[in-house]
């Protein structure tokens, strides 16, 4: 697991990892959310982080661009230690695209202005240039004709694609996705995943927190399973999703991939520890009911 990823890191040779998370802890008051996370992401890798809600996936992602300050440990992005208090975090964040579960488009600005405001105010690009880049990225996400619309006029899926285009307009070196499809109606999920698939194919470095197992299996170069604030398993998707080594991973996957079977199986003799959380888990994974590829679990 961690050993394999370390081996991989050394195998890729000279270039430092794009993201290097080292022994990161994070507590909110008494609540310890991250309990010593080690994770590296190499250039061009797509790493999907999966795990039950409350396992610390989103917090980990937010530690990468310092939306959350880790309680201890270090995070390096492209060799720069972002957890160093002296580092210019704004300069680092320019190179890290972030896509949120709730889109977080700026509702008082048109789609075009959403895409150009940071280019102009942060990167100092001229209006023409910023709009040209914005149009190119809107085209990329299939919304070339919606530049004049306000976000409220768009569907959730369109808003999320605009949010991706907004991040891309800053020419980021890597992208963070925080459950990008979890707030979407099931029929809108596909368009957003298609855009993300395209990005992955172009070689974008991506760290994705997701519940979309089919996406993770198909697109990810690595899948990380988190539970209780630690990385339980880390490896190739066929290994982590297809042939998980840990009981916790297996329990989680059986619920996510086949909620109906999990709830049926629970009645006669489910493990006592997991019974309590099963109900909430099912509600969360409801959109994945239409999962196509059978994962071949026991």
């Amino acid at each position: 697991m961690t050993a394999t990823s370390m081996a991989k890191a050394t195998a890729t040779g000279g270039r430092p990892p794009v993201i290097a998370i080292c022994d990161v802890h994070k507590s909110f008051g008494e609540n310890q959310v991250l309990k010593g996370i080690d994770l590296e992401v190499q250039a061009g890798e797509v790493v999907c982080v999966i795990g039950p809600s409350g396992s610390g996936k989103s917090t980990l992602l937010r530690c990468v661009n310092l939306l959350e300050q880790p309680t201890s440990g270090t995070v390096h992005v492209e060799g720069i230690e972002v957890t160093d208090p002296d580092v210019d975090i704004d300069a680092v964040r320019r190179r890290i695209g972030m896509v949120f579960q709730q889109f977080n488009l700026f509702p008082h600005l048109t789609v075009m202005d959403n895409l150009t405001i940071a280019q102009r105010r942060v990167l100092g690009r001229k209006k023409d240039e910023a709009e040209r880049i914005a149009r190119r990225n809107l085209e990329r996400v299939g919304l070339a004709d919606r530049g004049d619309a306000y976000p409220a006029k768009l569907s959730g899926g369109q808003q999320q694609r605009v949010a991706i285009a907004r991040s891309l307009s800053m020419d980021p070196d890597l992208m963070l996705f925080d459950e990008p499809t979890s707030a979407l109606d099931p029929e809108l999920v596909g368009d957003v995943l298609a855009v993300m698939r395209g990005l992955a194919a172009e070689g974008m470095t991506m760290l994705v927190v997701t519940h979309e197992m089919s996406f993770a299996r198909e697109v990810a170069s690595r899948v990380v399973f988190m539970d209780g604030g630690v990385v339980v398993e880390d490896g190739h998707p066929d290994q982590v999703i297809g042939n998980p080594q840990h009981a916790r991973t297996r329990t989680f996957l059986s619920r996510v991939l086949d909620p109906a079977a999990a709830s049926l199986g629970e009645v006669p003799g489910a493990p006592a520890g997991s019974a309590g959380s099963a109900g909430s888990m099912q509600g969360e994974v409801a959109p994945q009911v239409g999962f196509e590829r059978g994962p071949g679990l026991p």
Binding site: R93, R94, F100, N104, F106, H108, I117, V122, R166
Partner: protein
């Protein structure tokens, strides 16, 4: 059984409601008639409806008095808004001293009568700083007095507006590499102001009425506002008509503004 319940049943619920409404209407009619017969209509008409006197007030009541009232109000509002924004940002500052200072200011100026502030600006300041004058003459004095008072009220409104902008907006802005100041100026403040336009409109109405306190500061004819102007003519003619005209001029301004505020509020409620 049927005999005892018969009288209670004589009035159905519908009938009882009719009787109650009838009595209320009857009371209204009696009161109106009493007023109509007892009032001395001749004196009332002479005192409140002197059309000659009213006609004489035009166009000065509009071109001087109303214009002055609007001018004092708008200047005071702008200063108050600026002050309110600064105080709101101080209230939300990470530095405890700023928070405390802003809190103290807001408590003090919301707790004092506006009249005291006007008297202080008009008389206290000249005594305290002999030889120094508030720039802008009377307009400067009114602007300062109204701004100081309304700033305290608007600070709380602006703060509420800033806090009503979802946290994700700042996070998205910061993720794009904006500094916290840039995120505040370009993303949070514009959205906050949209949220607080209705309460700010209400504040403008309050301020319009408070601008009448300018009367405590001595002023020339050309500087008179609606209240002062109406009062002068009323006192000179021993007649209330000018005051009534001045009052109507206030309503011409405040009623549409209040209506606008309600409309904006309703539209915002629908947009949520």
């Amino acid at each position: 059984m049927s005999t005892t319940s018969a009288p209670a049943r004589r009035l159905t619920r519908k009938q009882r409601r009719r009787v109650s409404l009838g009595l209320q209407y009857a009371l209204l009619v009696v009161l109106v008639l009493a007023f109509a017969f007892l009032a001395d209509w001749g004196t009332l008409k002479e005192n409140f409806g002197n059309t000659d006197l009213a006609r004489e007030m035009f166009p000065d009541v509009i071109t001087t008095a109303m214009v002055n009232t609007v001018k004092y109000t708008v200047f005071g509002f702008l200063l108050g808004l600026l002050l309110g924004l600064v105080l709101a940002l101080m209230r939300l500052s990470q530095i405890r001293a700023y928070r405390a200072l802003a809190g103290l200011y807001i408590e003090v100026f919301r707790g004092l009568p506006a009249l005291i502030i006007f008297i202080f600006i008009g008389y206290g300041v000249p005594f305290a700083f002999p030889g120094w004058q508030i720039p802008g003459g009377l307009t400067g004095q009114v602007t300062l007095a109204l701004g100081l008072v309304s700033g305290a009220y608007m600070a709380e409104t602006v703060r509420a507006g800033l806090q009503a902008v979802p946290k994700g907006q700042t996070e998205a802005a910061r993720s794009l590499g904006m500094s916290s100041t840039r995120a505040m100026v370009s993303i949070v403040i514009p959205q906050a102001f949209r949220i607080i336009i209705p309460p700010l409109t209400n504040e403008l109405v309050l301020l319009l009425k408070d601008s009448s306190l300018v009367y405590v500061l001595g002023m020339t004819l050309e500087q008179q506002d609606l209240t002062k102007y109406g009062r002068e003519i009323t006192q000179a003619n021993f007649n209330s008509t000018p005051l009534l005209v001045a009052g109507l001029c206030y309503l011409v301004l405040t009623v549409p503004l209040s209506y606008l505020a309600r409309r904006l509020e309703a539209r915002q409620a629908k947009a949520r």
